[in-house]
């Protein structure tokens, strides 16, 4: 699954650690999601989208 997390985070001048704190996950999780190594659960994906004021499809895209 592709995502725009890194771009959205950079636009808001947030570090990985700050975004991790806002989403209640570890920095390692944010890094793994940004690199496309780990797909977040639906609740976490919704939480991230809500944080950026976007829909889930605007943050995460299915590669299939």
């Amino acid at each position: 699954m592709k995502n725009k997390l890194k771009v959205l985070r950079a636009e808001r001048d947030l570090t990985q650690a700050q975004l991790a704190d806002l989403l209640n996950v570890s920095r390692q999780t944010i890094n793994a999601i940004e690199k496309g190594k780990f797909d977040p659960s639906l609740p976490l994906a919704f939480k991230a989208a809500r944080l950026f004021g976007l829909t889930i499809e605007e943050v995460f895209q299915d590669e299939a």
Partner: protein
Amino acid sequence: MNNSMGNDWKQCNSVNTKRLAKWTAAWVITLAITTFGPVFIWSQNDIITSVAIAVNFLVGIGMIIANKQHLASLDELQQKIQLSAMGLSLGVGLIVGISYSTLDTTGLINAHAEISHLVIVMSLTYMVGILLGNRKYR
């Protein structure tokens, strides 16, 4: 955007980790007392030995509950890494344990298949699983 929730999550995780460490230490200590007590402390008194085993068993249940709480407090990636490592450890423990025991019962090896050897294999496998998981999601 405030990060008070993030700090709460970290604090909760820290508390659960410390709780698990305390229960694990208590379990190891009660196991040591149960193992060496009959020989060095209470001269093979069966009642005291039974009580010591029961205490060790109950502390073990406490350790399992603490471990469950610790797992629940981890974030989803950390849970995935932990559960994958535990699954690997269980699989390796089962296969190696059965093969090792069969080697003993069929007389192909002279050494007795001790459960402590299995615990060591499972512990090492678990640690390797954690290292591999962390490397995979680095």
